[in-house]
């Protein structure tokens, strides 16, 4: 929800308000000053009018005086009115005040001399008029009349002239003031506009982050996150800029993390797909492997059944055919055992996967055990081109605490592999005690391990043979690691074949 404007404690608003207030004060001040000067100017204009009026009043007084002088009128009241009018006009010119409904300012002091002159002329005129007309009302000769009239006219002219001089001076003063006023107006205008421009500049500078941010956000909108805006000051926009920068940094970081995560997920997905494919292949091969022993079992069992029936028909059996039957039974048993082993392998894979391989540990002599394996294996070895050699580094027994059956399984598995990949040559087995561990190695002179297979040799379902299920080494690794040992393989340096080695703690 938006806060009411006045309740926002905004620094930027404060700054702008401050500037606006200054501008308003400036404008109002200049208007006041100008208005004052303007009013001065107009009162000066009024003074000119009043000064101008002197001419008319003087003329009127002259007229009244002459009317009186030539006996056209004997009443001095009109003459007195004319004199008073002129007098009050001259006084008003100096002192100001309300006259004929016009507000008049006192005369500027620099014009007082001119006024004094006019006032002097007036006093002379007034005195002369009073002396000549008001005070002695005796008859006058025509010559007197003419002389007095000339004096009158001359005095009136003097008064008009001095009064006009004052008016002219007033006019000049007004002109000068007008010019000054205009200059002042221009000056104020310049100052106001300058201040306005300055304020505009300051506001623009204050709002600059908005433009920068707008550009930056539109860049971000287009997907470019490689932006940052400058951040200085402490007002809201600076805070906004800082927030923007940290937001972009966060976004960048987030997107990067997201990208990494996506890549990880994709990699994991690929890995899962690969594993799934391997599993499919394994199921295919395992099905094949499981079926393979069934064929001899089924076939030979059928043969034995027919033979038994035939024997039943004839009633006896020769020792030769009995011997053959025994061989067939041996083959059936062997294949049944093979089936069992396959089934156990599949179970073992599941146990290794779930890390629940159970070990039944007992103390036994490893040297003796290896010898047993070799004896068992050597007897069943059909390929006579392979030589099995057991060369333990020490003749004394090496006692280990481990699962005898499982260790047997590992050794025969490795031996089986060695023989399988060695068409012709030598398989050397060695056992060596090192401190609290024993090292068993099986070295062959066979085809060796392809480099691309090396890294995944002990993985599930990896096989180099079209008929292998690829679980033997995986199970061997699982067994050795369950004992706390390690198994690895390497190609023999400077020689054919490979060496498989495992290390087993004596007390595992």
């Amino acid at each position: 929800m938006l806060k009411p404007l006045e309740s926002i404690n905004s620094k930027i608003l404060l700054k702008i308000t401050f500037l606006v207030v200054i501008e308003i004060i400036l404008i109002v001040g200049s208007f006041c000053v100008l208005a004052y000067f303007q009013s001065q100017q107009s009162s000066l204009g009024n003074s000119i009018n009043i000064a101008g009026k002197n001419r008319y009043l003087t003329a009127n007084l002259l007229l009244q005086s002459e009317k009186y002088l030539y006996g056209l009128s004997s009443d001095t009241s009109q003459l007195k009115v004319a004199m008073n009018s002129l007098k009050s006009n001259i006084i008003a010119l100096k002192q100001g005040g309300m006259i004929s409904g016009i507000d008049l300012k006192p005369l500027p002091s620099n014009l007082l001399d001119l006024w004094n002159t006019a006032d002097g002329k007036w006093n002379i005129f007034k005195t002369y008029v009073t002396n000549r007309l008001v005070t002695p009302p005796q008859a006058r000769t025509a010559m007197d009349q003419s002389t007095t009239r000339k004096v009158f006219e001359s005095m009136a002219a003097d008064l008009v002239e001095s009064s006009d001089k004052l008016a002219t001076q007033l006019g000049q003063q007004t002109d000068k003031n007008s010019q000054n006023l205009m200059l002042l107006q221009i000056l104020f205008a310049i100052v106001i506009v300058s201040i306005l421009v300055l304020i505009l500049y300051l506001v623009a500078r204050m709002l600059r982050p908005i433009f920068v941010l707008t550009q930056a956000t539109s860049k971000v909108e287009r997907g470019n996150l490689d932006v940052s805006v400058e951040q200085k000051g402490n007002d809201e926009l600076s805070v906004l800029s800082r927030s923007f920068n940290s937001m972009i940094a966060f976004l960048r970081d987030y997107i990067k993390k997201q990208g990494d995560l996506t890549r990880q997920v994709e990699a994991a997905n690929e890995e899962l797909k690969r594993k799934d494919q391997l599993k499919d292949e394994f199921i295919n091969i395992a099905a094949h492997e499981l079926r393979a022993p069934i064929q001899p079992i089924l076939g030979l069992a059928e043969i034995l059944r027919y033979r038994k029936r035939d024997q039943g028909d004839s009633g006896n059996s020769s020792s030769v055919s009995k011997q053959d039957d025994d061989t067939l039974l041996d083959i059936i048993i062997r294949n049944a055992k093979r089936l069992l082993r396959l089934e156990q392998n599949i179970l073992d894979i599941a146990r290794i996967d779930s890390q629940s391989l159970k070990l039944e540990k007992e103390r036994f002599d490893l040297i003796e055990k290896i010898q047993n394996v070799i004896n068992d294996f050597g007897n069943g070895l059909s390929n006579e081109k392979i030589e099995l050699v057991f060369t333990p580094s020490q003749k004394e027994p090496i006692f280990v605490n481990a699962d005898k059956v499982r260790i047997f399984e590992v050794i025969s598995n490795l031996l089986c592999n060695a023989v399988k990949f060695t068409k012709e040559g030598k398989v050397t087995i060695n056992a060596e005690k090192q401190d609290t561990q024993v090292l068993v190695s099986i070295k062959d002179t066979g085809s060796g391990i392809q480099p691309e297979l090396m890294s995944k040799l002990f993985s599930k379902y990896v096989t180099n043979s079209p008929l292998g299920t690829g679980v033997g080494l995986f199970i061997s690794k699982g067994i050795i690691e369950a004992h706390g040992g390690k198994i690895w393989a390497e190609n023999n340096a400077n020689a054919k074949g490979a060496t498989f080695t495992f290390r087993l703690p004596l007390e595992c």
């Binding site: 094949h288 076939g299 027919y306 083959i331 079209p466």
Partner: protein, 147 residues
């Protein structure tokens, strides 16, 4: 007489017994499979069924090396073998002997369409046996193929 007697003993008289009466002792058969136990079982079963001239071999390359035209009437070849698969072996053998008949056997889940796809040129591969196979079925298929 013998057949009749056995027929009384078993509700389903063995077809193998019928084939035994036929004269297929001269049919020359070569079984090529890498599993010695399987070749042994096949050989023993076929011998017992009256096939006198059955030979087995466990190494496909060796089989090819020693193969001579006109030596056999029928080949029984395992499809998946190390070093050389059954299809390739048969392709090579046909170059030596174009008349020899063939029965493929496999324990893999390969269907007939897939077989045709990988082996389109051989229209005459009519015999395709999946392991494990009943011995009576085996004899029946062999007889069907050689006639």
């Amino acid at each position: 007489m013998l057949i009749q007697k056995q027929g009384e003993e078993h509700k389903t008289p063995s077809k193998g017994e019928e084939y035994r009466m036929q004269d297929h002792g001269r049919t020359r058969i070569l079984i090529i499979d890498d599993e010695p136990d399987i070749t042994l079982a096949f050989r023993k079963a076929l011998r017992d069924k009256g096939f006198e001239q059955v030979k087995t071999i466990n190494d496909p390359t060796l089989a090819l090396k020693n193969f001579k035209a006109g030596s056999y009437d029928l080949l029984i070849i395992d499809i998946v073998m190390p070093e050389m698969d059954g299809f390739s072996l048969y392709e090579e053998i046909r170059k030596i002997d174009s008349k020899v008949k063939v029965c493929f056997i496999t324990a893999f889940e390969i269907n007939y369409q897939a077989l045709r796809a990988v082996f389109p040129s051989s229209d005459d591969i009519g015999c395709f046996i999946r392991k494990p196979v009943d011995m009576d079925d085996l004899v029946k298929r062999i007889n069907a193929e050689i006639q």
